[in-house]
């Protein structure tokens, strides 16, 4: 115990919504210059804690202190004025703003007559961007024109800019491909005495940055652990209340001689520069790429959301030209989209309805939907992804992100497609859900289905993929098979460094 009060202290904070208690008696101490992790599954109460600390919602009881003084923020702005700023997981940047506006809102720079000056605002924003090493972002660019990764960086940069005392980072790496940027900045922030609360599902990151972690489970603080003393398994057990399932490389002995389920021959267009690949039946093919290397376009082209200008796509040996996701599904390609909220869920429908929707005609009789049949079908589909059937009657909006993702995976599989196109299926989901999703993907492949899987987490690819392709510059740059799929090699390839030095040089020249 130090003599000076902790930077941020929360004592017995409780928050309940009606009959539901989201957070119960959670206490937390954050010392100046410390990076403190908060771990827990989805639904453990992490987001509620973040919202309370950042002033979005007020707790029902409990007390918070900032440098010893009572801290009871009634709005984000209030918290910001007190020196507490947050980078939200959901990203709080409105698409119709410019970068400068997004960074400085709601207090933009003023010029003559006290009016907002776009020029002064842009100049101030440029300074912030420079300070946080985001010089490749133009302050007058529109948010909508930025990639997800850039938006996440902006979100983080903005929080850092305002966080004089406490910085809260909620899943800051969900869309980031370049975590070192973040780590460097976090380190320099803490060096200046700011305390950082770091919420992440990625244990490896947490270990790199933090020494101490608070583990939440079901809204309660179950432990405060020193990370150097606890093994991954220990932490996992604390988080989910059971021991982790077997962890390791995919063991399925994959038969090489099976037929191709999906073949691409020199597919060009929509940014793609001639992509050739194939996925065999029963095979999981991983795609590794840094942000913006054409992986989005690859997946979108396959389901008809983008159009290829030349090249050939074969599904099960037959040439197809996907015109829309509907055609793709009919051809046997099923897609799990990138942005769950934007492209995935129908928030006002029940989970069951969400799962069966694309093929609702198959489970309806003469156009009518029978709720019992629908629920039964959805229950069957959700078994495969370990989604608790009691959620089927809930509106999907009421489910946690992890369960929503399970439902979407169930939907993708329920179409009866032989080939799954999974775009970052575990983004922002907790460890437990991840395990379930991995198991579902492997089981699908074991049943003879084929999977094209893009993931922003390399460990996921090393673990799941039978074969891993690296996209670089919107074409297939390298291919790794079996044991050769290994993180260090992938990382090198991601940045255009081939195992074949001649090839790297060509790329560098190009």
């Amino acid at each position: 115990m130090s003599v000076s009060p902790p930077r941020l202290q929360a004592v017995a904070v409780t928050k309940s919504y009606g009959a539901t208690t989201a957070l119960e008696n959670v206490s937390l101490d954050l010392a100046a210059g410390e990076v403190h992790a908060v771990l827990g599954e989805n639904g453990a109460g992490k987001s509620t804690l973040v919202k309370i600390l950042s002033g979005v919602i007020a707790p029902n009881s409990g007390q918070m202190r900032l440098d010893g003084a009572v801290y009871a923020p009634h709005s984000i702005l209030h918290a910001r004025q007190a020196g507490v700023a947050t980078a939200f997981q959901e990203l709080s940047l409105a698409p119709n703003l410019t970068v400068a506006e997004a960074l400085l809102l709601p207090a933009m720079k003023r010029g003559a007559f006290g009016l907002v000056s776009p020029y002064q605002t842009a100049r101030a924003a440029a300074e912030i961007l420079h300070r946080y090493r985001l010089d490749d972002v133009s302050p007058i660019a529109g948010i909508a024109s930025l990639s997800l990764a850039h938006r996440q960086r902006l979100e983080i940069a903005r929080a850092m800019h305002y966080a004089e005392k406490v910085l809260i980072l909620d899943e800051p790496t969900a869309a980031l491909t370049d975590v070192e940027w973040l780590f460097d900045l976090v380190r320099s922030t803490t060096a200046a005495g700011t305390a950082v609360l770091y919420i992440s599902h990625r244990l490896a990151e947490v270990r790199t940055l933090c020494k101490q972690a608070t583990v939440l489970r079901n809204g309660r603080s179950v432990a405060s652990v020193g990370l150097s003393d606890a093994s991954d398994a220990d932490i996992f057990e604390l988080m989910v209340g059971r021991t982790e399932m077997a962890h390791g490389r995919r063991t399925h002995s994959f038969a090489r001689e099976t037929r191709s389920a999906l073949e691409l021959n020199n597919v060009t267009g929509a940014k793609l520069k001639g992509v050739t690949l194939d996925v065999k039946e029963g095979e999981i093919v991983g795609i590794a790429a840094l942000e913006g290397q054409g992986q989005r376009e690859l997946f979108r082209t396959l389901v008809g959301l983008d159009k290829a200008t030349s090249g050939q796509i074969l599904v099960g040996g037959k040439p197809v030209q996907p015109k829309s996701p509907r055609h793709a599904i009919a051809a046997g390609l099923s897609f799990l989209p990138e942005e769950r909220k934007v492209e995935g869920i129908f928030s006002t429908l029940s989970t069951a309805a969400n799962i069966v929707l694309p093929v609702i005609q198959n489970i309806s009789r003469t156009g009518f939907v029978w709720p019992a049949l629908e629920r039964h079908s959805a229950a069957r589909a959700s078994e495969g992804v370990e989604l608790n059937p009691r959620y089927l009657d809930f509106r999907i909006a009421d489910l946690s992100g992890g369960n929503q993702q399970k439902a979407l995976l169930a939907r993708a599989m329920f179409t009866g497609a032989r080939t799954l196109l999974l775009y970052d299926p575990t983004r922002g989901v907790d460890v437990g859900t991840k395990q379930a999703i991995y198991a579902a993907i492997q089981a699908f492949a074991d049943r003879g289905g084929s999977v094209l899987l893009y993931s922003s987490e390399l460990t996921e690819l090393t673990r799941l993929a039978d074969r891993c392709l690296v996209l670089y510059g919107a074409r297939i740059f390298e291919q790794f098979t079996g044991e050769a799929i290994e993180e260090r090699a992938l990382v090198a390839a991601l940045t255009g460094h081939s195992r074949d030095p001649a090839k790297s040089k060509r790329e560098a020249a190009a």
Binding site: I76, S92, L97, L105, F113, V116, R133, D135, W181, T495
Partner: protein, 338 residues
């Protein structure tokens, strides 16, 4: 392994859009398109009607368009924040009958009347804002109710058209200044200037953000409730001003005066390219949209379109304007992308 960040040296960016970029943005926005459309229609008008370019015609056009333009400007604020405001019809009727039932003459009287109109609009807007922002009613439903109530109150105050608006208001405010400048046009100019100022305040930016993404706005530290309430209050005050200008033009009261403004304001807003799902658009475009609607009547008259089928042309022009806008935006954006 920080690839992207280290790669980029401290490149200096433009801090303001270049002139071509601005021009392109203007063209792709509704404002540019509606201006082009207005000019085209005016061109047709001047071909068919030689008096189209006289000061008298311009004065007539301005006086006709001003009430709708100001009302559409108010509606735009609410539409930008992703709402609908039906109370526009009620507020215009209410202010119109009050102007006719309690005329206050002279310049001072005009100022007092104006203040009363603005106050009525502001109060109705405040009620709307409270219902929508605080009590979370859907804007279309809440403002439907306030519209009906205001219509009722108008009928209570004046149960048949009549009354006389003060002479100063009805004559001097519809006249021209220095022989060329329509005075009513100055009111619109004032609204435009206020809007340009407003656009550069926290409220102005907040309006767009709230309309585009309420959640993001909240998490960015914007007081969403305040922005919403303020948009309804300012919108209401503009309806009050529209009622004031309408009274000046018609010189009399009519408890149903506002009814025809309901659909027309939305048509003007949409014609100006403002997205009815919020977050995109401009008050200025709506004002020109309103002027276009009024001009269209004159153009069709000058062109001698058979009266039964006037509606067909109005409908077609409405659709064409939007399609034209879509096509232009598409080309500009595609050009921008490559």
């Amino acid at each position: 392994m920080s690839i992207l960040a280290t790669k980029a040296a401290a490149t200096s960016h433009r801090l303001a859009p270049s002139m071509p970029a601005r021009a392109k943005a203007l063209l792709a926005s509704g404002t540019g398109i509606i201006i082009v459309l207005y000019i085209i229609l005016y061109g047709l008008y001047s071909i068919w009607d030689p008096t189209a370019l006289t000061a008298d015609t311009v004065l007539n056009l301005t006086n006709n368009a001003v009430p709708l333009a100001i009302a559409a400007a108010g509606q735009t604020l609410i539409v930008l924040s992703r709402g609908f405001d039906l109370s526009v019809a009620g507020v215009i009727s209410l202010t119109n009958v009050i102007m006719a039932a309690y005329p206050l003459d002279g310049p001072l009287g005009a100022v007092e009347s104006l203040a009363i109109c603005l106050a009525i609009g502001g109060v109705v807007g405040l009620v709307n804002g409270f219902l929508v922002a605080v009590l979370r009613l859907q804007s279309i439903a809440a403002t439907l109710a306030t519209m009906i109530i205001c219509q009722g109150l108008s009928l209570v105050i004046l149960d048949a058209p009549g009354g006389t608006v003060a002479d100063f208001i009805s004559y001097d405010l519809t006249d021209v200044l220095f022989g060329v400048i329509p005075i009513s046009g100055l009111f619109v100019a004032a609204v435009v200037v206020l809007w340009m100022i407003c656009r550069r305040t926290a409220f102005g930016t907040g309006l767009y953000v709230v309309g585009a993404d309420e959640t993001a706005a909240h998490l960015s530290g914007i007081n969403v409730k305040r922005v919403r309430i303020l948009s309804f209050v300012i919108g209401g005050m503009l309806y009050g001003l529209a009622g004031f200008m309408l009274s000046a033009q018609t010189a009399t009261g009519n408890p149903n005066a506002g009814a025809s403004f309901l659909m027309l304001t939305f048509a003007a807003v949409a014609l100006g390219g403002t997205s009815l799902s919020g977050g995109r658009g401009s008050v200025i475009a709506s004002i020109i949209g309103a002027a276009t609607l009024m001009l269209l009547q004159k153009v069709l008259f000058a062109g001698g379109v058979s009266s039964f089928y006037t509606g067909i042309f109005q409908g077609v022009v409405l659709v064409l304007a939007v399609v034209f806008g879509n096509v232009v935006t598409h080309f500009v954006e595609r050009r921008g992308a490559t």
